[in-house]
């Protein structure tokens, strides 16, 4: 198993390396320290959501509501700050909103029981609507510097958002590989019935997973608000697809039960390196869409091919 997981990530990693090598040759602006930092920073936004999404997908589910949650949490934080709530409190409030909404998804899915796709599709629409109502559809801005610092400050030259993202990925990695909860996620995704028969409280753990997804959407919202120095009710549209793409490019199976959070990180990097490269090369924005599609497909193809190779040789 270890071997295969390693192999899986090797596949995605290779994809990333190929991409970077290509860009390094194609343009002198890519392989500069400044630009690479810049890329890492840009990957943080979707990268953070993708953590929760990895958990959800590992259990065989999906969460389409994250994009709207980013907006909702952002607006909650924004209006809290406007009412003079201290930054820390406002952030806590926002994250709480994210967790609660996520848990609500979990409840609908486990108690309903609704297909995750439907429950979160509905929530996607509801959360967006609520975000718009809370903010009257207007962006909220003018925040204390404390918040902004989250986006601007850095640790030994590494931007704070990147540090935060990496820390969260490390945490998620340990959670998945070292804890009972982690094994449950794999088990539920692999064979929910068997897991329930083994006496695992599947309903509870699934709800927790969706709550975590809500939380990671919340963290993303914090980063986004700090970055744009404004909370927008229409933020985050389409993030769910980017996050899912990162997860699947990272080698996690949409059927659940197999995958890794490291792969997801690489997947997220592939996406932002690609976008960065296309901008640097000044590719026409139409051609960019074609290129993005092609690379998503190519990345997974490489991954698959390499994984077969690994599995065969592991006999």
């Amino acid at each position: 198993m270890r071997g295969i997981v390693a192999g899986r990530e090797a596949g995605t990693a290779l994809g990333l390396i190929v991409l970077c090598a290509g860009l390094w040759i194609a343009t002198p602006y890519f392989a500069t320290a400044a630009n690479l930092t810049n890329v890492a920073e840009q990957s943080a936004i979707v990268g953070v959501i993708a953590i929760g999404m990895t958990f959800v997908i590992l259990t065989g589910g999906i969460d389409l509501s994250v994009g709207s949650l980013v907006a909702l949490v952002g607006v909650v934080i924004g209006s809290a700050l406007q009412r003079g709530v201290p930054v820390i409190a406002a952030i806590a409030l926002g994250l709480l909103a994210g967790i609660v909404t996520g848990a609500l998804n979990g409840l609908m899915i486990t108690r309903g029981p609704l297909p995750p796709f439907i429950a979160t599709l509905g929530m996607m629409s509801v959360a967006r609507g609520v975000a718009l109502m809370l903010s009257d559809g207007r962006p909220i801005s003018g925040f204390p510097q404390g918040l902004r610092a989250l986006a601007t400050s850095d640790v030994f030259g590494i931007p704070a958002p990147v540090v935060l993202m990496l820390a969260l990925y490390l945490l998620a990695y340990l959670l998945l590989t070292r804890t009972v909860f982690g094994r449950y996620m794999y088990a539920i995704g692999g064979n929910e019935e068997a897991t329930a028969l083994a006496g695992v409280n599947v309903g509870l753990w699934k709800s927790v997973v969706y709550a975590i997804s809500g939380l990671s959407a919340g963290v993303c919202a914090v980063l986004l608000v700090a970055r744009l120095n404004s909370a927008q009710p229409i933020a985050g549209i389409g993030y769910e697809l980017d996050a899912i793409a990162a997860v699947v490019i990272g080698g996690t199976s949409l059927l659940g039960g197999s995958g890794s959070v490291i792969g997801t990180l690489i997947g997220a990097l592939i996406m932002s390196v690609l976008r960065n490269g296309l901008n640097l090369l000044g590719v026409s924005s139409y051609l960019q869409q074609v290129a993005i599609g092609v690379v998503i497909i190519a990345a997974v193809l490489i991954d698959m091919a390499l994984r077969r190779r690994v599995q065969r040789s592991s006999l």
Partner: protein, 497 residues
Amino acid sequence: MTTPGMFTLRMRGIRKSFPGVLALAGVDLDVRRGEVHVLLGENGAGKSTLMKILSGAVARDAGTIEIDGRASALASPREARDAGIAIIHQELALVPEMTVAENIFLGRAPTRFGLLDQPRMVREATTFLSRLGANIDPGQRVAALSIAQRQLVEIARALSLNARILIMDEPTSALTDRESQRLFATISGLTAQGTAIVYISHRLDEIFAIGDRITVLRDGRNVATQEVRSADRRDLIRLMANRDVDEVVTPIPRRHGAARLRVEGLCHGRTLHDVSFSVHSGEIVGFAGLLGAGRTEIARAIFGLEPFDQGRILVDERPLAIRSPRDAIAAGIGFVTEDRKREGLVLSRSVRDNIALPILERLARLGIVRRAEEQTTAESSVRELNIRTPSVGQLAQNLSGGNQQKIVLAKWLATGARILFLDEPTRGIDVGSKAEIYLLINELAAAGVAIVLMSSDLPEVLALSDRVLVMREGRVAGEFTRAEANAERVMACAVGV
């Protein structure tokens, strides 16, 4: 130390009905501490349902359960486990993507400071597996195991719970003699420590070997409970089937025609080495061997499921390139697979659809399915193998294990294959139906079908086969005619002494 004879478990008036089926119509069951209590009954009699209720997997409609005199709800698997009840499921309940060790400790993995204790998990898994004499790597993914190996993992898991009441729902259905013997040894060890065991099997010999008392169910009702000592085989069968069943297989006299299938020098990775054999029309060739000897692999390779490295396959003496099951079927080959859940059935579809699947093109005109014909085909197969189902429209997943197995059989019989591979064809099938299926196999052979029978049930192989080939570590280790073949010789050859 409690006095023997005191009840550990008392079930009273257990009722359960499913859409269209009354599975249990008020069943009683008493199990004593330290005894092996056998549950006997035809396919669909309600054995598994009763045990699923006892293990908290299924909610009962009515009835009470007492353990050591205390009433217990047993509303969830967790509750049952805490009450000291462990179960080996008939339909293996494992997580394919996870390792053997992880499956064994699923739901109660050992931890240190809240973190998983991987080494300890592997260590303990190894001990339980070796206690069963199974050399399975605890780090291997379950998906890569054969059905028999999976069954051993399930058993190891149940043992590791060291429960007070251990339910075994057809634990040996895919095991060969050797593993079965090891299991029985383990069982007597447990009963000696006072563990009560509820044992379900369709292999009567086992029951006489290890059982203390027997409860017979029929159509979800108690028929009898008696001491094994005083029990008589024929009576038991009559109690189960409510009719007389002739167990002795009398081979229909038949002529062996030309070689239908000839396999030459088949090699596949580490599982098959230079396997050669031939099957003639009207002949039944049995494959015996230990678990993992490579029988299933042969069938998989010939059926185009595993691209083999070397070797030729000739059908009617003409070499064939078989790249997919489609090719195999076109060449008149059928394959009753051993893993009905994964390879045999579309559980979410009706009995009708499952039986018709391989022959749909034949049942159709211009791509339109002739539904009347489909219906009659399905119904006649259901009658022929007396599959217990409210209607052919019932979903396959709602049938009992044995009846599901019968669907797989029916499906391939319907194709009218001229070469038929049967891998564990009677796995989990009751005595009565077994006899019918044996008869059927004989009739097929008499009709000129070339049959390859792969079974872990040695008596079955010996009774049916005109020739017996013995596999050992992927090689054909020996060949015996019906006259030469007997249990001792075959086992000796299989083990390699």
